[in-house]
């Protein structure tokens, strides 16, 4: 009997243990599945873009609600400076009523029990409305209004403060959540919190970007307006000897290109063409300020000069540079520019090139373009730099073309540059057309080349055709010399004869000697470095044209051969008895300007100028 009783007891205990084991297995399985779901949700969050925020929250509430077998799942957010709980998302099982309108947003103070618990970062588990403590009547009423049997609220904490809560209602039956489930649901709440943070950050970023785009558009429009009205505009030169046209196409990001034309006298006008480093409104403002400085300097100079005649470009550029270079250095900006004076009576272009694109000079007699470059740094690079002026002659039918790097550096879809050579080819092919037509051809060529690629820089150019020129040359001679040293004496004689032939006899004997010294040095350099041959072949000759009028003397050497650089002249140290380095110094000192240019086809030019109108 004792044995049987013991057997019964063991059997009962076995059954109980088996049941407990099955229950434990079921619980483990549920917990595992819930954990898997939470992991899945977490993975979805990681790869989520905040644009899908609402959809993800809704699907999350649905998945969790279905899985844990509850009837309603929702998300409340703290709003109004933490004074209200507002429902942002809700999922309901089939047949379950939506939360009443009055319960979708309520003052947090009305449910102070919930609030206290949630603020202290604790979940609130209410298995039954009877478990609501006395004093929490609103909470109990809410449960009853929603027909809620059981409720679980899990706080969302951001930076230690309550940001909202995740809620689960059991409506059709009571539900008791175990700690493992609650732990996992707290993890879900944290994921939602992180998603909210990301969503809000991205929303703020998008708002900021939208505002930035709007500001940029306003900036662009303002910059473009400044450029159209202040920085560029129509060239206002009315001179029967010139056909002058300009083109400006602002890029997507206006970048401070500017130009200005000013009449100096009946025979001369100035062209200022510049490019400020920096785009948009700052670039446009600096360009406007620089342009204004030029106008002020010119006005001051004209007022202080007898008969109001403006001094030469180098005086103007140096005066402006001394004003604005410290400011530009402070602003970490700089300006590349060319300041040019076209004197149609003297047939002379004077220019100061401060790191700008070359001036393209089409010589009508050869229909070839020469690239005229200077040696100065952009304004804003160096304080106390003396910017030098260069002078070259032009003739009837010649074209001067000033342009910004927006033309040469325009790119097509493949990233190729439009380049200077294409521009030169257009000018050479169309040299006999009106400037308005050349401008149109250049514009069309650049736009076609870009194949719809947006312009990275402004397209700016000024084209000047010189025709029906007044005045002329008192002396104009040209000669070809063999490319050998024995030609030097002939070159000296040629220059001397030209000077002696000047009926105005404006050049003194000392000045004549200086000009001959300089011309001799130029010829010597050409023979030594330019036309000399390494293969023993006969060297090519060189061409020298000399012109004298009341304004100046021009010596222009043209040759085909090797390029050679003209380094900046420095006073040679005579006391060290150095043997070399005097040639360029002599040219620089004895002439007012030296210009070295090439025509990109192997043609070279050295132009020396002596001005009488300084």
């Amino acid at each position: 009997m004792r044995f049987f009783s013991r057997w019964i007891h063991i059997q009962a205990r076995h059954r109980k243990l088996s049941m407990e084991l099955r229950e434990a297995r079921r619980e483990v399985e549920i917990f595992f599945r819930l954990e898997t779901l939470v992991n899945d949700i977490t993975t979805r969050f990681i790869n989520l873009t905040s644009e899908k925020y609402d959809g993800v929250i809704n699907s999350l509430l649905r998945d969790i609600g279905k899985f844990i077998g509850i009837d309603r799942a929702y998300l409340f957010i703290v709003t109004g400076d933490r004074e209200f709980f507002s429902m942002s998302h809700e999922w309901r099982a089939k047949g379950i009523k939506a939360t009443a309108k009055g319960m979708r947003c309520f003052p947090a103070d009305h449910c102070s029990w919930w609030r206290r618990g949630l603020v202290s970062r604790k979940y609130i588990h209410i298995p039954s409305p009877d478990d609501v403590p006395p004093g929490a009547e609103t909470e109990r009423r809410f449960m009853n209004l929603g027909s809620v049997h059981s409720m679980l609220l899990v706080p969302l904490i951001r930076k230690g403060l309550l940001d909202g809560f995740l809620g689960f209602d059991a409506v059709r039956s009571r539900k008791i959540w175990d700690k493992k489930e609650i732990y996992l649901l707290e993890s879900v709440a944290q994921n939602i919190m992180n998603l909210r943070l990301r969503w809000e950050t991205e929303r703020e970023l998008r708002t900021a970007e939208t505002q930035l785009i709007k500001l940029r558009e306003e900036d662009l429009e303002t910059s473009a307006r400044i450029q159209r009205t202040i920085l560029t505009g129509d060239p206002n030169i009315r001179n029967p000897a010139v056909d002058i046209r300009a083109l400006t196409i602002p890029s997507q990001e206006v970048d401070g290109d500017f130009y200005n034309t000013v009449r100096v006298s009946n025979d001369a006008f100035d062209i200022l063409s510049g490019d400020v480093m920096g785009k948009g409104l700052p670039g446009a403002f600096i360009a406007a300020a620089v342009r204004n400085h030029f106008l002020q300097v010119k006005l001051n100079m004209a007022m202080s000069q007898p008969r109001g005649i403006l001094p030469g470009p180098r005086h103007i550029v140096n005066a402006v540079a001394s004003r604005i270079t410290p400011e530009l250095i402070h602003l970490e900006s700089f300006i590349a520019l060319t300041y040019s004076r076209v004197n149609v009576r003297f047939r002379r272009l004077d220019f100061v090139d401060c790191g700008h694109t070359p001036v393209i000079h089409l010589r009508c007699n050869t229909q070839r373009c020469w690239r005229l470059k200077g040696h100065s740094s952009p304004l804003g690079f160096l304080e106390n730099e003396t910017h030098k002026e260069q002078s070259v002659a032009f003739y009837e039918g010649d074209i001067l073309f000033f342009y910004s790097d927006g033309i040469s550096e325009a790119r097509n879809q493949q990233g190729d540059f439009f380049g200077e050579q294409r521009l030169i080819t257009i000018i050479e092919k169309n040299y006999d057309r009106a400037m308005t037509e050349i401008i149109s051809v250049v514009k069309a060529a650049v736009i076609n080349f870009c194949e719809g690629n947006p312009l990275a820089d402004d397209l700016t150019c000024v084209a000047v055709k010189l025709h029906d020129l007044p005045g002329g040359w008192a002396v104009r001679r040209e000669r070809i010399f063999p490319g050998e040293m024995s030609s030097l004496a002939a070159v000296r004689s040629f220059i001397g004869e030209c000077i002696d032939a000047d009926p105005g006899a404006a050049i003194s004997s000392a000045e004549k000697a200086r000009i001959i010294f300089a011309g001799n040095e130029a010829a010597s350099n050409i023979i030594t470095h330019g036309v000399s041959r390494d293969d023993g072949e006969e060297p090519a000759g060189f061409y020298l044209e000399a012109g004298i009028n009341s304004g100046w003397l021009s010596l222009c050497f043209l040759y085909g051969g090797k390029p050679f650089s003209l380094p900046p002249a420095e006073r040679p140290d005579i006391e060290s008895m150095q043997e070399h380095g005097y040639g360029i110094f002599i040219m620089e000192e004895f002439m007012d300007s030296i210009t070295y240019a090439d025509d990109a086809r192997g043609g070279r030019m050295i132009a020396l100028a002596k001005r009488f109108d300084i």
Partner: protein, 110 residues
């Protein structure tokens, strides 16, 4: 190219050409090398020269440098207006004494 007359260790050099430039400066330097010896003193009569370019100038400076190496010296006289303009530009007088006539030049060397 040149004529040379001797008076002790003083050589007076005059020119048969009217220029020293890139075309003939090497020949000039080469010819002058023959006369550079210990304690040599040169008087250059450049009255005949109408033109000297940067290469010619360099040749004179090269000769002076070689003379200094052998405790020699040199002076010049008779520079025309054009050449004086060049000499003034490069401050040649800081290294080569120049005189209006031969007598003064000779006195400076003796």
């Amino acid at each position: 190219m040149i004529n040379v007359s001797f008076e002790g260790n003083i050589l007076t050099i005059s020119f048969e050409v009217d220029h020293i430039d890139s075309g003939n400066y090497k020949e000039f330097k080469s010819v002058m090398q023959r006369y550079i010896m210990d304690g040599a003193r040169f008087i250059f009569n450049i009255e005949a020269l109408k033109f000297i370019d940067s290469s010619g100038l360099g040749a004179f400076l090269s000769i002076l440098r070689d003379l200094h190496k052998v405790n020699g010296d040199m002076v010049m006289y008779g520079a025309g207006e054009a050449i004086r303009i060049l000499f003034d530009l490069v401050h040649l007088s800081r290294v080569i004494r120049t005189f209006p006539d031969g007598e003064e030049a000779r006195r400076a060397l003796v």
